[in-house]
Every structure is written in structure tokens, then in C-alpha cells.
């Protein structure tokens, strides 16, 4: 018994390592072909850091901090914050009922409603919020409203998926108990589902704010309001020192926002004793 076993194992091992070798070879060849196809020349890599260095040193440095202190620019920063705020609130408010509809274990309309909500959330997430912004601009013209709408969709896509996952992982017993007691779907949601996911939802909401705010800083790039427009204009006019200042400001704002939301999340964790979000 053991001799055939050993021989078989030997053969299997040999086949496995051959397969692994072929797979590596194919991957390498595929990589090389792809680089050829995309017209990426690896020798440019060698000079990349050199060029990037001189570029940053001569054109982006020193950043024109005076530019970002101008009142008109500061106004756009405030506009960015406004947009992120509205989009996060609206998006979260819409995402909760959508997630309820889309969750397989709690949906009040398990047929068409569930599929429609799933398609909506997936679609909102699959298309980048910048593309949504352009679509809205095509109909509504330049301005803040298309930006807010695009960010709202982005927020629904992002938070909606997490909400659905959260609802789908709840303990079904309280829900079933309420259904058995004859509660309507709305009552089941508010008293059976929501109490179980409330803390997680707040955590996800705070996390979503980070994501939406990050997008809001650039969503105006194609004219959807906020500071993104200034980024576009200075970049188009090759005013790299101003671009540098704007990028640094964006990074600083995002970091500040992340620090605040991190503290909010830890405070929430401390109060409720629950782990709020894995990431």
C-alpha cells in the first residue's frame, strides 16, 4: 500500500511543481506582452525618479501657499466641506432603506424590490463618482448640485454595500420572533433589525464621511463645485507651485478629517464596547 502511495505522491509533486513553473512562465510572458501592448517602456523607469525629482524640486517647489489663502479659494474649500456634508447625510439616509431592501434576510420585498436595490447599490459603486459627476453636469450644468448628487451616489454605493453586509450578518432570531408576533415589515426593521446594527452603522457612517470627503476635494475637477476646479485650472495653466499647494492642502484636510473620525470611532467603540469597523 505504501509503495504505490509514495510513487503516486512523487508523481503528484512533480506534476504540481511543473504546473507551478508553467504558470509562473505564463505570467511572466503575459506581463511582458502587456507592457509591450500598453507601450510602457521599462527603460523609462530608470529615469523616472530622476525626472520626478527634478520636476518636484524645480516646478512644484516651493508651493505657492499665498494662493490657497485667497478668500475665493477658501470659499471653495468651505464649498467642498458643504458638499461632502450634504452628500454624506443624503447618501447615508438613502443607503439605509436601500440596504434594508437589498438584504436577503430582511428585505420586505424579497422579489423585485431586492434585485432593484442590489442593482442600484452595485451600479452606484461600480461607476466612479467622477464619471457620475460628468453625467450630472451634462444634464444640470456646471455647479455644486451635480457634485453633491455624484457624491451622494458614491456614498450610497460605498455605505450601501457595507450596510447590506452588516444586515445580512445579524442574528435572525429577534426578527423571526417579531414576525411570528405579527409585526409589520416596518416594525420588524425598526425594532428587530436596526437595534442590532445601529453601532456598526454609525461606525460605517463615520468611515463613509472620510471616503466622501476625500472624493469631494477633487470631484470639482470637471466643474462639479468645490476646490477641485482650482486644481484643474492651475494644472492646465502649468502653475505647478499652486498645484503643489492645493495638493498639500488636500492631504492636510484629509488627514485632519481622518484623525477626527478615528477619534469618533474609538469613542464609539469605548462607549458601546463593540468593534466598530474592521478597517
Amino acid at each position: 500500500m505504501s509503495s504505490t502511495n509514495t510513487l503516486m505522491v512523487l508523481q503528484k509533486r512533480r506534476r504540481r511543481s511543473l504546473l507551478r513553473f508553467l504558470l509562473l512562465l505564463a505570467l511572466g510572458a503575459g506581463l511582458w506582452l502587456t507592457l509591450q501592448y500598453l507601450n510602457v517602456r521599462l527603460e523609462r523607469f530608470a529615469t523616472l525618479f530622476d525626472r520626478l525629482g527634478t520636476l518636484l524640486a524645480t516646478r512644484y517647489y516651493p508651493p505657492d501657499f499665498e494662493y490657497i489663502m485667497r478668500p475665493r479659494f477658501l470659499q471653495s474649500v468651505l464649498e467642498t466641506i458643504h458638499m461632502a456634508l450634504l452628500a454624506t447625510l443624503a447618501g447615508l439616509l438613502l443607503a439605509i432603506p436601500l440596504a434594508w431592501l437589498a438584504a436577503f434576510n430582511a428585505s420586505p420585498l424579497p422579489g423585485v424590490g431586492k434585485s432593484a436595490a442590489r442593482v442600484f447599490i452595485t451600479g452606484a459603486r461600480a461607476i466612479h463618482e467622477m464619471i457620475w459627476a460628468i453625467v450630472f453636469i451634462m444634464v444640470l450644468g456646471f455647479g455644486v448640485l451635480p457634485g453633491v448628487l455624484a457624491l451622494t451616489l458614491g456614498c450610497i454605493g460605498f455605505a450601501g454595500k457595507l450596510f447590506v453586509e452588516e444586515i445580512e450578518s445579524i442574528d435572525d432570531a429577534p426578527v423571526e420572533a417579531m414576525r411570528a408576533a405579527g409585526a409589520g415589515p416596518l416594525a420588524v426593521f425598526f425594532f428587530g433589525v436596526l437595534p442590532q446594527v445601529r453601532t456598526a452603522f454609525i461606525g460605517i457612517g463615520i468611515y463613509t464621511w472620510d471616503v466622501v470627503f476625500r472624493s469631494a476635494t477633487v470631484v470639482g475637477f470637471f466643474g462639479a463645485g468645490g476646490m477641485g476646479w482650482y486644481l484643474r485650472r492651475t494644472a492646465d495653466q502649468l502653475q505647478s507651485d499652486r498645484v503643489a499647494a492645493i495638493i498639500l492642502l488636500i492631504a492636510a484636510l484629509v488627514v485632519v478629517s481622518e484623525v477626527i473620525s478615528h477619534h469618533a470611532r474609538t469613542a464609539l467603540e469605548g462607549r458601546t464596547g463593540q468593534r466598530v469597523l474592521a478597517r
Binding site: 505504501s2 509514495t6 505522491v9
Partner: protein, 278 residues
């Protein structure tokens, strides 16, 4: 099991241990005045330990937890750096070795761990083969390429401990006892002269502790390997070892046959709660 004649050659035959009779007189391992202090600790864990181990000898090390058993084993193969003293394996001073020389010396000592310390995602056979990875050519080792005879040898060894049918399974699919058997095979596959065995049954179901201990002793004797075996359980030590070294607070308080230990001596070695296990 090995009826077919070609496979008979694949039976695990320890090549290196056909030690000449004269060597028996010389100790395999000589430990002198070994001291270990962990960085930042106020006191030594080992406070001057000394003993010798003859080739093929099977010695149990007993003592309460915290007595320094584990540290002693780890100081012998320098997983823990001794702060003073000497460890000699054959005629090599282990404490003086560095880099490649230390690695070559470690290959002569196999280690069996309390928690098996296997590569969970590797198959059983690959774990055993890793026992000799250090003596493989660097490039071959990188791609886990081993000669067919070596693979057959590892398979035979696994057969010997009853894991022949499992050698193609991933370790994380095995039970604790099976894992420890893989660990035993890995250590023996190194073809060592000395086995350092660190509480091999403490993470296992007590019912299979006897089997595992018997397997370690039998395999060690069969392949002519000396073994230094930490055992917390005094009953197991009595059953398997003719010579017992007892540690207490980093000092050897007994070295000799188990029978010379009386109740009072054991009471000194173990705390009251441990004595109930006798």
C-alpha cells in the same frame, strides 16, 4: 508494509549514527555552568546548570513551570543566548559559533516543540522535507526541489509513524497528535545526533500522550539518537526515562535514576498542586 524489495531500501535508515563503540565512552553533549538571563530581567533563569549526555541516552528533564526547562533546551541550540557557561556538542563549543558554523551545528540537533511549530499551510511531506532544507542548495531550497530518494525517505519515515496516508494533506487539516508526529518526523529527518524535545505532549489530549512519548523514545533508540526531553508530567518521565534531571529555580536538584527521587524530593521540585498528578 515494505514487502516490495525496491521500497525496502527506502526505509528510514539513519546513516550517520553507526557510531563506533569507542565513541560511546565520550559524552555527546557537555553542559557546564550554563547561565541565562533574559534582557531586562532582574535574575538569571538558569543559574549554573551542568550535566553530560552520552550518545543514545534518553534523559527526561522535569521541573515546575518556570523552573527553566524550556530555557535550558533553547540555550543548548542557542535559540536563547546563554550569558555564561559552555555547551559542547562532540568536540565543538556551541556557544562560540557564529553564522554558517552555528547553522551547521544546529543541523546536528533536532528539536520537537510543544506546539509543533509546523508550517500550517504546507503539506505533511513538505514539512518533513524542510528538516533538511538547510543542507540543500540555496536555489533548490528556494523552490522546494528535493531529490526523489530524499522524498521517498521522508515518506518512509512518515509511514513509520503511521502518517503514510496523510502525507499529501495540509498540516492544518490534521489533529494535534498527528501534527506532533509530523514534528517528530521533521526533527528525525534532519538525521540529528541529539533530539531536543520540549514538552511534546503538553498541547495534546492526555490519552495519546503515552503513544507520542513511546514513539519518540522508540524512534530515538532505533536511530541511535540521544534525546533530552522536557516533561512536565512526572508519571510520563518515570515511565519513559531511566535518567531524570530535575530543575528547580534554574538549578539542577537531581540527576540520576528516577527511583532515587523520593516523595520529599519531588515535593521540593513541584508545587503542591503538581504533586497531585503523581
Amino acid at each position: 508494509m515494505f514487502e516490495s524489495s525496491e521500497m525496502a531500501q527506502l526505509r528510514f535508515v539513519p546513516a550517520r549514527h553507526a557510531a563506533p563503540a569507542a565513541a560511546l565512552a565520550e559524552p555527546l553533549l557537555q553542559v557546564e555552568n550554563l547561565r541565562v538571563r533574559y534582557p531586562g530581567a532582574p535574575e538569571d533563569v538558569l543559574r549554573g546548570v551542568g550535566f553530560t549526555l552520552a550518545p543514545r541516552e534518553f534523559v527526561a528533564v522535569i521541573g515546575a513551570s518556570g523552573s527553566g526547562k524550556s530555557t535550558l533546551l533553547r540555550a543548548i541550540n542557542r535559540l536563547v543566548e546563554p550569558s555564561a557557561g559552555s555547551v559542547r556538542l562532540g568536540d565543538i563549543e556551541v556557544t562560540a559559533l557564529q553564522g554558517g558554523a552555528l547553522r551547521r551545528c544546529r543541523r546536528r540537533m533536532g528539536m520537537i516543540f510543544q506546539e509543533f511549530n509546523l508550517i500550517e499551510r504546507y503539506r505533511v511531506l513538505d514539512n518533513v522535507l524542510l528538516g533538511r532544507v538547510g543542507s540543500q542548495q540555496a536555489l533548490r531550497a528556494l523552490f522546494s526541489i528535493y531529490p526523489a530518494t530524499m522524498i521517498a525517505e521522508a515518506a518512509a519515515l512518515l509511514d513509520r509513524v503511521g502518517l503514510g496516508a496523510f502525507l499529501d494533506q495540509r498540516v492544518d487539516a490534521l489533529s494535534g497528535g498527528q501534527r506532533q508526529r509530523v514534528g517528530i518526523c521533521r526533527a528525525l529527518f534532519q538525521a540529528p545526533e541529539l533530539l531536543l524535545v520540549d514538552e511534546p505532549t503538553s498541547s495534546l489530549d492526555p490519552r495519546i500522550a503515552n503513544d507520542i512519548m513511546a514513539q519518540i523514545r522508540d524512534l530515538a533508540q532505533e536511530s541511535g539518537v540521544a534525546a533530552l526531553c522536557n516533561i512536565h508530567d512526572v508519571a510520563l518521565a518515570r515511565q519513559f526515562a531511566s535518567r531524570v534531571i530535575a530543575l528547580r529555580d534554574g538549578i539542577i536538584v537531581h540527576d540520576g535514576p528516577f527511583d532515587e527521587l523520593d516523595e520529599a524530593a519531588l515535593g521540593g521540585i513541584y508545587a503542591a498542586t503538581d504533586r497531585s498528578r503523581l
